[in-house]
C-alpha cells in the first residue's frame, strides 16, 4: 500500500518532576517546538520509575520510551537517578533479548534549565524511532485457531 500515511511514532516520556519535567515546561514557554509525538508522564524522581511502567507502555502501544532525570549528583532524593541508571542498563539488555531495538528506550539527564535539550532529545528520538518503524511486539497468545482445521504439524 503505497499511500499509507507516514508512520508517526508514539513516545511515552517519564520525566522527573524536579528537573526534566520543569525543563519541558520551560521549552513550552520558550516556544521551543518539539515533535508532538510525546506523551509526558510526570514522576517524582527518575528513581521512582518502575521498569514495569516501561514494559507496560510498550505493550500498550508506545513505540519508544524516554526517561528524563536530574543530572548525576543533582537528584533530590540523592541516589534516585543512579538507581534508574542501573535499572536502565539491565532493562536495555533485556529488551534487546526481546528483539526491541536499543534506540527505543532512552535515558537522559536534563536539568530544569535545559529546555533546549528537551527539544533536541525529543526531536532526535522521534526521528530515530520513525526510522525504526512501529514496534511490532508479538501479541500475547491469541485464542486457538479452529481445531478442526487440519494442517501439517510442520
Amino acid at each position: 500500500m503505497s499511500d499509507t500515511p507516514a508512520f508517526e511514532p508514539r513516545i511515552v516520556a517519564f520525566f522527573c518532576n524536579w528537573c526534566t519535567y520543569t525543563a519541558a515546561d520551560l521549552a513550552g514557554t520558550a516556544r521551543l517546538t518539539y515533535a508532538p509525538n510525546v506523551r509526558v508522564v510526570r514522576i517524582m524522581c527518575s528513581g521512582r520509575l518502575d521498569p514495569q511502567f516501561v514494559v507496560t507502555a510498550l505493550r500498550q502501544g508506545a513505540d519508544g520510551v524516554l526517561i528524563g532525570g536530574c543530572h548525576p549528583g543533582d537528584c533530590h532524593y540523592q541516589e534516585g537517578n543512579y538507581k534508574m541508571l542501573r535499572r536502565f542498563h539491565l532493562l536495555k539488555r533485556m529488551l534487546k533479548q526481546f528483539g526491541i531495538d536499543d534506540q527505543r528506550v532512552r535515558l537522559e539527564w536534563i536539568s530544569a534549565s535545559e529546555g533546549d535539550k528537551v527539544q533536541r532529545v525529543i526531536n532526535e528520538m522521534v526521528a530515530q524511532v520513525r526510522d525504526l518503524g512501529p514496534l511490532a511486539l508479538v501479541g500475547k497468545p491469541t485464542p486457538h485457531p479452529d481445531a478442526s482445521e487440519k494442517h501439517a504439524a510442520a
Binding site: G99, V138, P141, K150, A152
Partner: protein, 321 residues
C-alpha cells in the same frame, strides 16, 4: 452431605505437579476420603466422553497443571472449564507458562528445524518432519498439531485460582484442599499462597542487610557459596525478595538462590520487570562501566527474570528469526 467432585488434569506438563500430589504421602488418603475424585489421568481411568456426559458445573473443582501447547489440550481445557465450577491453575506452567514457556523465545518452525534437522545426532537427508496426517502402507496415522506458542492456562480459558510453584509445595496443596473442603476459598482470582516474599521464610533472612549493596553479581558456579549468609548479599542472583513464599525457601535451604518459581506477589503486574528492578537496585555502582561490570553476572536477563513466566509477561516475545 455428598462429597464434592474433584478432577485433576494435565496439559503440557513434566509430571512433577502430579508427583507433588503424590508427595502428600499419607495425607493423600485423607483427601481421597473427603472428596470424590472423578478423574486423574495419571492414576485413574476416565474418558473424554465421561467428562462430556457431566452436567455443566457438576465438577466442584478441577485442578489443571501444565501449559497449553496443542489443539487437543485446548479442546480438553475448554471442556473442563464448562464442567467445573472452580478451575485452579496448578503449578507454574499453568499459572504463567513455566519453563516450557521459554519456547516462546523462539518459534515452532525453529524448534522443529532444530529437532529434526540440526541436532548433531539427527540424520535426516530427506528432511522428513512429523505430519498431522500421514499415510502409511496400512492406513492413516494422525498426530496432534503443535500451537505456534505456549500459553498459560489463563490465556486459554478463564481461571479462578492459582496454586503457584514448580511444582507447588505440598503445604500449599494441602492448604488449598483444606480451604476447598471448608468452603473458605478467598476471592476468585487469588493466588493460593501467602502474599509475602520468600525471604520471609528464609533461614538466612537475619543476615540480609538492611541496606543491601552488591558491587558485582556472580553466577553460582563462580563462587563457593556461604551456607549461612544471605545469597543476595553474597552477590548471587536470588529472586527471593520478589518471589512469593510458600516453599519454605527450599532453594536457599539447598544452598542455591531462589529462581522465582512461585511467581509474583499480588501487587505485581509483571514479575520479570519487577525482579529486574529489585536486582538492579541493590547494585552499588555509579559509572556506566562499573554498572556493566557489576551486571556481568546476569548474562541472560530475559531468561532469568522470566524463567517461569515468559508467556504471561507483558513483552511476551518471539525473537525475530
Amino acid at each position: 452431605m455428598t462429597k464434592p467432585k474433584v478432577g485433576f488434569y494435565w496439559c503440557a506438563s513434566c509430571g512433577g505437579c502430579e508427583e507433588a500430589v503424590v508427595d502428600l504421602h499419607e495425607a493423600i488418603l485423607d483427601v481421597v476420603a473427603a472428596v470424590d475424585i472423578v478423574f486423574w489421568p495419571c492414576a485413574m481411568d476416565f474418558k473424554r466422553t465421561d467428562v462430556e456426559a457431566m452436567a455443566d458445573g457438576e465438577l466442584a473443582v478441577c485442578f489443571i497443571n501444565g501449559a497449553v501447547r496443542t489443539s487437543e489440550q485446548f479442546e480438553m481445557v475448554e471442556l473442563l472449564r464448562r464442567k467445573a465450577g472452580v478451575v485452579i491453575a496448578f503449578g507454574a506452567c499453568a499459572q504463567s507458562g513455566g519453563i516450557p514457556g521459554l519456547a516462546n523465545f523462539t518459534s515452532k518452525a525453529a524448534i522443529l528445524a532444530n529437532v529434526y534437522e540440526d541436532t548433531r545426532t539427527t540424520v535426516n537427508p530427506h528432511k522428513t518432519y512429523p505430519q498431522a496426517t500421514v499415510q502409511v502402507p496400512e492406513g492413516t496415522l494422525t498426530l496432534p498439531v503443535l500451537d505456534e506458542t505456549v500459553r498459560a492456562l489463563g490465556q486459554a480459558i478463564p481461571v479462578d485460582y492459582y496454586l503457584p510453584g514448580c511444582p507447588p509445595p505440598a503445604k500449599l496443596i494441602a492448604d488449598a484442599v483444606g480451604a476447598i473442603l471448608a468452603g473458605t476459598l478467598p476471592a476468585p482470582g487469588s493466588v493460593l499462597a501467602p502474599n509475602v516474599g520468600v525471604c520471609h521464610e528464609c533461614t538466612r533472612k537475619e543476615t540480609k542487610p538492611e541496606k543491601m549493596l552488591v558491587t558485582q553479581f556472580k553466577r553460582p558456579h563462580q563462587v563457593l557459596i556461604d551456607p549461612a549468609q544471605c545469597l543476595l548479599a553474597q552477590g548471587l542472583v536470588c529472586l527471593g525478595p520478589d518471589t512469593r513464599s510458600g516453599c519454605g525457601a527450599a532453594c536457599p535451604a539447598g544452598n542455591m538462590p531462589c529462581t522465582g518459581c512461585l511467581g509474583a506477589l499480588d501487587q505485581v503486574r509483571d514479575f520479570g520487570a519487577k525482579a529486574l528492578s529489585g536486582l538492579a537496585s541493590v547494585l552499588d555502582a555509579g559509572e556506566d562501566a562499573a554498572i556493566d561490570a557489576g551486571l556481568a553476572g546476569v548474562p541472560d536477563p530475559a531468561g532469568t527474570f522470566y524463567r517461569y513466566s515468559l508467556p504471561a509477561s507483558e513483552l511476551f516475545a518471539k525473537l525475530p528469526e
